[in-house]
């Protein structure tokens, strides 16, 4: 495998496929400016920029990622920028110069990560159009309180980056077909097509599929697990396609959240806002929609929204494809309707109609880059004051993301009134018996889940219920 670092091709040779880019940078390349703060993708101290050829092959698409949970083979055929790629202490880049002068660093440990996130924003990396607070949601600083860093972000505009040499260099190392490697007994593959993936899965039915590694990465860095045969699916172009039609949205399983963000906003602003709050930008630049579904987590944020919106999941195996309503995929805790040799290929989400009221709420201790205690999603079709159909799903309320059928029944064919909403809210106690855990008690979950229906009602009445829209009182 090969990748490009500051214009030079790096060939790591035989190396464990679960070696993280961070480990490799720090211990082999001795680039120690990229820091390890948590080794689980939550603090951003290890932020680097990864670039790959755009589909037209004329430019580079850059994205910020957490090097601590990025496996080295995932860099294959791509370009990497680290903080050392920018300025040196005696010849800083303008962003670094400004941050050094304005108090953006105190202990300095998180600083290279912030520099890389903001550098990505300047050079047009994925998510560059987001406000600085969103670009930095995945970078934790414990010293500064963030003010000087945000000031620096506001002061410096975009900068044009000449990527022509990188384009040429990447073209020269771009792989044409599946790349395979071995490390001792362990084998790993980076296929380029769905057909190649299906073939590999037929040969290695126990192989571990890795898409963005934002979950599996932790199995290695925290669980110290051996993944066996690994198939990295991030380079399969077919899996990364988004098709938007008036009827709906078809998303390949390998589409990253950041890539889907704009299309999700167009599908419905509530889905866009939910997406903004899934992980930090570095996580959304790695994590795929398919991965968020495939792993079957009861607290993944994508599934409740996709269920409520009526999404269809398509799986592919050696025998072809099969499709199902997405909720049917989640059988039980840790158990999904996925047969040996199958993989999640795509998800279809129908576009909500003009009569549909869509509401999605994520509740967590912290607004950004947190995991839901409760995530609720609602789609109510309201005609002439009546709810003609209702689709309600929650995450964090059961062993799987699941529909609230009693709640839906209470809503369906009911008048769209506060009384109906309250009845439906009460019915959630029939639907769910949530657990108490580190993110919230069962009581809180039940009460807050019910209140989300009231929030939907208030919003439908035009009552502002968004804290995030508030400003301090003048005076």
């Amino acid at each position: 495998m090969r990748f490009l670092l500051d214009g030079a091709v790096v060939e790591p040779g035989e190396i464990a496929p679960t070696t993280t880019v961070l480990e490799y940078l720090r211990t082999v390349l001795r680039r120690t400016g990229t820091m390890e703060g948590c080794a689980e993708g939550d603090c951003g101290a290890c932020t680097v920029l990864v670039g790959e050829l755009q589909t037209d092959c004329n430019g580079i698409a850059w994205r910020s990622v957490n090097a601590c949970i990025l496996f080295l083979p995932m860099l294959h055929g791509k370009a990497l920028l680290t903080v050392e790629s920018l300025g040196k202490p005696d010849a800083l880049d303008p962003l670094q110069e400004l941050m050094a002068a304005n108090g953006s660093s105190q202990c300095g440990f998180c600083t290279p990560g912030f520099v890389m996130s903001l550098h990505g924003r300047r050079i047009g990396a994925a998510g560059h159009d987001l406000p600085a607070v969103d670009v930095l949601a995945g970078n934790l600083c414990r010293c500064t309180g963030y003010g000087p860093i945000l000031d620096a972000a506001d002061k410096l505009g975009p900068v044009a980056r000449d990527d022509s040499a990188t384009v040429a260099a990447l073209r020269s190392i771009e792989p044409a077909e599946t790349v395979a490697g071995r490390f001792g007994e362990q084998r790993w593959y980076v296929p380029r097509t769905n057909a190649a993936l299906a073939d590999l899965l037929a040969q290695h039915p126990d192989a571990r599929i890795v898409a963005g590694a934002t979950d599996v990465g932790l199995w290695v860095t925290k669980g110290l697990r051996d993944l066996g045969t690994v198939i990295f699916i991030g380079d399969i172009g077919e899996l990364r396609a988004i098709e938007e039609t008036p009827a709906g949205l078809t998303i390949g399983a390998g589409v990253r959240y950041a890539q889907a963000h704009a299309a999700f906003v167009r599908l419905h602003p509530a889905l866009g806002e939910l997406t903004r709050r899934i992980g930090g930008l570095q996580v959304r630049n790695s994590a795929t929609i398919g991965g968020n579904v495939a792993n079957g987590s009861p607290i993944g944020d994508g599934p409740p929204a996709l269920i409520a919106l009526g999404a269809t999941l398509t799986l592919r195996g050696a025998a072809g494809t099969r499709s199902m309503p997405i909720e049917d995929y989640f059988l039980d805790y840790g158990k999904q309707d996925l047969r040996a040799g199958e993989f999640v290929e795509r998800i279809y989400v129908p576009r909500p109609g003009p009569d549909d009221i869509v509401h999605i709420s994520k509740l967590s201790r912290r607004f950004d880059s947190d995991i839901s205690a409760v995530c609720g999603a609602f789609k109510l079709a309201v005609r002439d004051g009546r709810i003609v159909s209702a689709s309600v799903a929650f995450g964090g309320m059961a062993a799987t993301p699941r529909r609230a059928t009693a709640c839906e029944a209470a809503l369906t064919d009911a008048p769209f009134t506060l009384a109906s909403i309250e009845r439906a809210a009460a019915a959630l106690r029939t639907d769910y018996a949530p657990l108490s855990d580190v993110r919230g008690s069962a009581d809180y979950r039940l009460k807050a889940a019910a209140n989300l229906l009231l929030r939907l009602w208030h919003e439908a009445q035009g009552v502002s219920a968004s804290l995030l829209a508030l400003e301090a009182t003048d005076g």
């Binding site: 703060g37 105190q106 963030y146 995991i371 219920a465």
Partner: protein, 769 residues
């Protein structure tokens, strides 16, 4: 200290950027893990206790020893000297001996050829435990009378009679959660064996001398054979005052036993499970007051969960008592402080060191009195401030530098507090779902270690013959800007640019017997010590120049243009060269001990503090009454740093301290299960503030005044006090919850941290008829 000394002239100092800023932003600042690894380096991991309290019946480490890459495994009996990594009481073990006292406690130590190999092997130990009764919570420990030291009492007057006599009274209580430091650089140390049994240790520690002494005792060496060095820490906040010793001692043990260099870089989750945190408190109070809100009597019960060992808990809980008056005159007061021993990780120093909990307690009392009287809490605050004739603290110290009344009045005006409070009331009246709240809370924080002997510092200044200057002192750099402040002090003594001063790593072989960099006192102590060292050299240079030019020392003047003597101006480097040829010593040590302070811990009376630092904050918040979510909307701060040594650095401390305090009181929740396991051991579950949590309105002003105490440049300490400005966040949240039932004269029963769950519960209880 001669106040006529021109170098001590109290002047506005420039905001030099942090000395390492250019290295930070380019990734070139070296932290311990960035140092090149020598050949043969071993990497370490602990096998940890899975039990909160148990006897170790048997330990089978065969699988650990056989695991790939493992070179050596150590147990308590392998330690040659003292199995002790504690600061004071001798009760923190490097490795558990016979018994484990909290989940996560290190039981054995693995040295392997790679970090992953060590971590993997550390999970392979088979330990048979015989469970012992465990005490996990404050309630458990109270029931079991489990204490780390006797309950302490600080009192004045007759609280009992005054409570009875007071026209109004109430009693209530609440809980205050702990806090993980979440320094971005986790605990780390590297130990390298040197010739003749000596050992060199790089440790990310606020207290190199303590690490040195503990390692010496642990290995049976004199302190002179152990050198501990730290150039910078990637954050500390109190979490590397005592907690760093464990990892450094482990590395030193392996280096000494194997003869190979050894590095211990703790994994984040292990770090959070193994190391201590801010103390969790249960606060109960009875308060007597009059119709306008004067507090006439207060009985305050402060119970803290100290964890499994003593650590610094006595001093931390003392500081909670010292700050339970905050800015207020409490004529009849009794503070009872219970220091509870539990089978949880030992609680430790954290920015504020108990002060935040004590201060939050009294501010809560004020809020409750105001609620009962239907008054704006600011009126009750102002009614109780220290003032002439009512200026003695419960510990018998007269408050001679009180600026709280003026500071509060100014902030009240500049923040538009009154108009905003009225506007918020009308917003709330017409907003069914969202409610706003606003609060102003003040801070008065005592500066000095309350353990008097710790208030000392040393410095070493070298001037080289080429005119370059090197400084070293006992203070450590954890991001707070101590190094640049001290460098500025030294540069000013010689009237040279600060760029001429090379700041060097803190090392126990340069300045011995240092105190921890803590208690906000780093610049006060080390700045003055460095000033003395530099002044000693300058005096020699002055005398030398006067002698060779045949004039009086008074005719020599150090200026930015050079050293002036009569009409002649000699460049500084020329003078240094001349002095070297003239056989003048250009190296000096400096020493400083804070004057005037004394404290009798038996009676809890004395003058523990050299002075007080003040501040106040107005915070506006909003809550969602359906979900309990909140948003901090605006903060206005007026803070007293005296005559600042570096206003830019000080502002950074104020803002960063505030946001850290905001996290403590809102999103940062430590959750332990009923087996004593910490469930929030990673940033996935433990949530410090992110950029969007910083309020969009964030105004910081520095109080224009100088320290009445003759500190360096008449500046004031700034590390800890601003954290407590965030008490205004909690108070404002309480006001917002109160707005859900505005006509009740009760304070909502909100516990800290104000998580969505706590806020929703407080709303439910507040709205009950």
């Amino acid at each position: 200290m001669a106040e006529s000394d021109p170098a001590l002239a109290v002047v506005a100092k420039p905001s030099h950027p942090h000395d390492s800023a250019r290295l930070h932003v380019s990734g070139a600042a070296r932290y311990i893990d960035d140092e090149p690894e020598p050949a043969g380096m071993l990497h370490l991991a602990f096998g940890q206790s899975s039990m909160a309290h148990a006897r170790i019946a048997a330990m089978d480490l065969a699988a650990v020893r056989k695991a790939e890459g493992v070179v050596a495994v150590f147990r308590a009996q392998d330690i040659p000297g003292a199995n002790d990594v504690s600061p004071v009481a001798g009760d923190d073990r490097l490795l558990a001996a016979g018994e484990v006292i909290n989940v996560g406690q290190p039981v054995f130590l693995v040295a392997a050829t790679s970090r992953n190999a060590a971590r993997k092997a550390a999970t392979m130990g088979r330990i048979d435990y015989e469970p012992l009764p465990m005490t996990l919570t404050i309630a458990d420990a109270r029931a079991a009378a489990s204490l780390i030291e006797p309950t302490q009492r600080m009192a004045r007057g007759d609280a009992t009679s005054a409570l009875t006599a007071a026209p109004l009274h109430l009693s209530s209580g609440f809980e205050i959660g702990g806090q993980d430091h979440f320094y971005l650089e986790g605990q780390i140390a590297t130990a390298t064996p040197r010739e003749d049994g000596q050992i060199h240790v790089l440790s990310s520690t606020q207290h190199p001398s303590e690490v040195q002494h503990l390692i010496a005792h642990m290995l049976g060496l004199p302190s002179s054979d152990v050198t501990v060095e730290v150039r910078r820490m990637g954050g500390a906040f109190g979490g590397k005052e005592t907690q760093a010793a464990l990892f450094a001692a482990a590395a030193a043990l392996v280096a000494a036993k194997t003869g190979r260099p050894a590095k211990f870089r703790a994994d984040r989750d292990d770090d959070m499970a193994i190391t201590g945190k801010r103390h969790e408190f249960r606060v109960d109070y009875e308060v007597g007051f009059d119709e306008v809100g004067h507090i006439l009597a207060l009985r305050l019960q402060l119970a803290s969960r100290c964890g499994a060992t003593v650590d610094l808990s006595p001093a931390i809980n003392d500081r909670a008592m010292f700050h339970a008056d905050n800015c207020y005159w409490l004529p009849h007061i009794e503070i009872v402080s219970e220091r509870l021993k539990t089978n949880t990780v030992s609680a430790t120093a954290f920015r504020g060191f108990g002060g935040p909990q004590g201060m939050l307690a009294i501010e809560r009392v004020i809020d409750e009195v105001a609620a009962r009287l239907g008054l704006d809490p600011i009126e009750v605050r102002c009614a109780n401030l220290y003032g002439p004739g009512r200026d003695v603290t419960p510990y018998g110290m007269t408050v001679t530098d009180n600026i709280a009344p003026q500071l509060i009045a100014r902030l009240r005006a500049t923040s538009g507090y009154d108009a905003r409070r009225a506007a918020i009331a009308s917003f709330n009246a017409s907003s069914p779902v969202l409610k706003r709240g606003i609060a102003l809370t003040p801070v008065k924080f005592g500066i000095s270690f309350t353990t008097t002997h710790l208030n000392q510092a040393g410095a070493l200044v070298h001037v080289y013959a080429d005119g370059s200057i090197q400084i070293n002192h006992g203070g450590t750099e954890m991001g707070q800007g101590l190094y640049i402040k001290v460098a500025q002090v030294v540069a000013d003594v010689f009237a040279v640019p600060v760029s001429r001063v090379r700041i060097t790593a803190t090392r126990t072989d340069k300045v011995p017997n240092t105190s921890a960099t803590a208690a906000s006192a780093g610049a006060d102590l080390n700045g003055m010590a460095a000033h003395r060292a530099a002044t000693a050299i300058r005096d020699r240079l002055t005398a030398f120049l006067a002698s060779i030019r045949g004039c009086e020392p008074g005719d020599v003047c150090f200026t930015p243009e050079g050293v002036a003597i009569g009409a002649e101006v000699l460049p500084f480097d020329k003078l240094c060269r001349l002095a070297h040829f003239g056989r003048i010593s250009l190296s000096a040590t400096g020493f400083y001990a804070t004057p005037e302070i004394h404290y009798d811990r038996a009676t809890h009376q004395g003058r523990p503090f050299y002075y007080f630092a003040y501040g106040a904050a107005v915070t506006e918040v909003a809550i969602d009454t359906l979900t309990g979510e909140h948003k901090v909307l605006g903060v206005d701060i007026l803070h007293d740093v005296g005559r600042s040594l570096n206003p830019g650095i000080d502002r950074g401390q104020i803002e960063g301290g505030f946001v850290q305090g905001q996290g403590w009181l809102t999103t940062e929740q430590l959750v332990f299960d009923d087996k004593g396991r910490l469930l929030t051991h990673s940033p996935a579950t433990y949530k410090i503030p992110t950029a969007s949590d910083r309020p969009r309105r964030f105004n910081i002003d520095l109080w224009d005044g100088e320290n009445v105490a003759p500190t360096i440049n008449r500046s004031k300490a700034v590390g800890e006090p601003p954290l407590m400005l965030a008490i205004s966040v909690f108070s404002a949240l309480t006001q917002a919850v109160a707005a859900t039932a505005p006509d009740t004269r009760r304070l909502p029963p909100l516990d800290a941290p104000a998580t969505p769950e706590h806020i929703l519960r407080a709303i439910a209880e507040h709205c009950e008829p």
